[in-house]
Symmetry: C2
Subunit: 210 residues, 2 copies
């Protein structure tokens, strides 16, 4: 299982000890994404993957839990940044909302295991749920903006946002859980949800996607 045998992995130069931390973190992220199970991640397997002694991990992480936690914070940060960046680059409220949801979906399909782990309940009991909370609030704000500008019919923002998020989460989860089935395009399904659940007009959506 020694996938990283590029070079024999000599020790890092003085002052660059943090590099190993990055390598360990990257390996942990890769392995979590493959297993989709944070309980199955073993220190020894990560060490093997990186090509170091298992004990070397303790130089940078207090214990197994600390490593898992650090990996998930990294994944969470990466996802949030992607979504935020996409929304910032979109010109109008509908495009912003759409970009947000689509980028989340794409991220999940590129990192299906990590998406699963981030949404795992065993984890959400230990890690602060600020990740999902932040996403919740931002989605609500994006919908509110659409309503304010007359691009979506006024309504109960919290409820509509909740319905949209649940539906999208289901659409993404369905594909993540059975990746080998020939699913219809996620993008189109998300757009249908934006139309039917939020009330965005198809023409406005068309414009946003152009």
């Amino acid at each position: 299982v020694n996938t990283t045998a590029d070079h024999p992995r000599g020790r890092n130069p003085r002052g660059q000890g943090e590099r190993l931390r990055e390598e360990v973190l990257a390996a942990a992220l890769r392995m979590l994404d493959e297993s989709a199970d944070h309980q199955a991640l073993s220190l020894r397997a990560v060490a093997r993957e990186v090509g170091i002694a298992a004990t070397s991990i303790y130089i940078h992480f207090a214990d197994r839990d600390a490593l898992v936690l650090a990996a998930l914070e990294r994944a969470h940060g990466d996802l949030m940044e992607s979504v935020q960046h996409a929304a910032d680059g979109a010109p109008d409220p509908v495009a912003k909302l759409r970009a947000r949801v689509h980028v989340l979906g794409n991220w999940a399909r590129q990192h299906p295991g990590l998406y699963k782990v981030l949404n795992d309940r065993a984890l959400s009991q230990r890690v602060d749920t600020s990740f999902k909370l932040e996403l919740r609030q931002q989605t609500s704000a994006a919908i509110q903006l659409c309503m304010d500008e007359g691009l979506a019919p006024a309504g109960d923002v919290a409820e509509i946002s909740f319905d949209l998020r649940a539906a999208v989460h289901g659409a993404v989860s369905t594909r993540v859980d059975e990746p080998d089935r020939p699913w219809p395009p996620l993008e189109e399904q998300i757009d249908r949800y934006l139309i039917k659940l939020v009330g965005i007009s198809p023409s406005a959506l068309q414009q946003a996607s152009a």
Copy 2:
């Protein structure tokens, strides 16, 4: 962790050896439902829970995998039966469709761990996906029936069914993954999906729920 210390568990009478099989299966189901992780189920832990020697499990199950598989087939059967029974007891197409989806949601909330495991991708690669396939087809049929009787606008049944199932799965998963949050009622959310995604009229739904 010896939760079942009611009586010291004497051996079963002759010809009743299958009873142990049931006890083991029931314990496995309980533990799977709690852990929500089929990889974490250990033969030894199940044996401890039942109050028998670990080796006794091999009398009834070839190995750990066979036990996990049997447990999931049991869970799957139970869920399918509940859904089918609910649909059979409903008077009209809208009530049938509604009962189907609501019972699925309720089953999932009563057995959150099992619901997760049943939808796990690691599993769906090994077990035949007939479970979900069956559910898919039946949901589509229920929607088709609503359209045929003019209770829902005509449309692409496969697409609408897919959108509904994904949305409901998301609504259920959201609650299953974070059970301690104060979520709004699942029933109402499902009804909104039936209205907005399938096009069932609120009044017909009102009638079906009465």
